[in-house]
Symmetry: C2
DNA sequence: AAATTGTGAAACCGAGTAGTTGCACATATA
DNA sequence: TATATGTGCAACTACTCGGTTTCACAATTT
């Protein structure tokens, strides 16, 4: 059973859960109200998110609040670093092109 | 058939392909040499990456060079924005705690 | 104590996935 | 022209995945 963050965020429902929990900790029932599928289906998604540590449990009486663990999500960000360099340089190139067009445009109109 | 970037990067082989192609454009055969599975398996991964526009084809004689499309990868980065705010603020809090501990430590020793 | 509520776990199912082998076909090379 | 090479596509298979239904169980509420 593969259980890494990349596989975890591959599912749109799980991404939606993360988006909700990131705002404030929530119980499974509260989360399930936001989706069309059953509470059990949502609960299974939560289980997966807990297993890969994107969510953390916090028992409170008989309710369980799940909260978002940003540190784990940052691992995605770290992985993106190797590509960020590339798209930033391309944006720079695009910026240069745009700036050149702009200055030509200015030349023409002034 | 779901074909979005999140599902595309969920597979470790595809992530490895992206890492290689990000360095420079490569042919399927050249890529396949880096993996244990067959060329056809790698080719299927490439197809998926092309379908979700993370890779772009570039025919050259009978060879096909695949190159990385950073713009598409940036969509992951954009999605992360909603969480980035959170982990950055928590890091700030951690920094504050560390700074306080540090100043207490300094107090004790000076 | 009995009923209700919040939750997780197990069993099952249809669809999707990653891999394989085998084939087709176009482009280069002899 | 015959052969080798680079590539994509189709068929098949074992496995995974997301969903449902059903159950178990502990913590509240009546």
């Amino acid at each position: 059973m593969r259980r890494d963050i990349f596989q975890a965020i591959a599912d749109p429902t799980r991404r939606a859960i993360l988006g909700l929990v990131a705002l404030h900790a929530m119980t499974p029932n509260a989360l399930a109200e936001h989706f069309d599928s059953t509470r059990q289906a949502v609960s299974k998604h939560i289980k997966i998110l807990v297993e890969c540590q994107l969510l953390e449990q916090q028992q409170q009486g008989r309710e369980i609040y799940y909260q978002f663990n940003p540190q784990k999500m940052k691992e995605i960000d770290n992985w993106l670093d190797q590509f960020r360099r590339i798209w930033e340089s391309r944006f720079d190139k695009l910026d240069n092109v745009l700036n050149q067009l702009k200055s030509k445009d200015n030349d023409r109109h002034e």
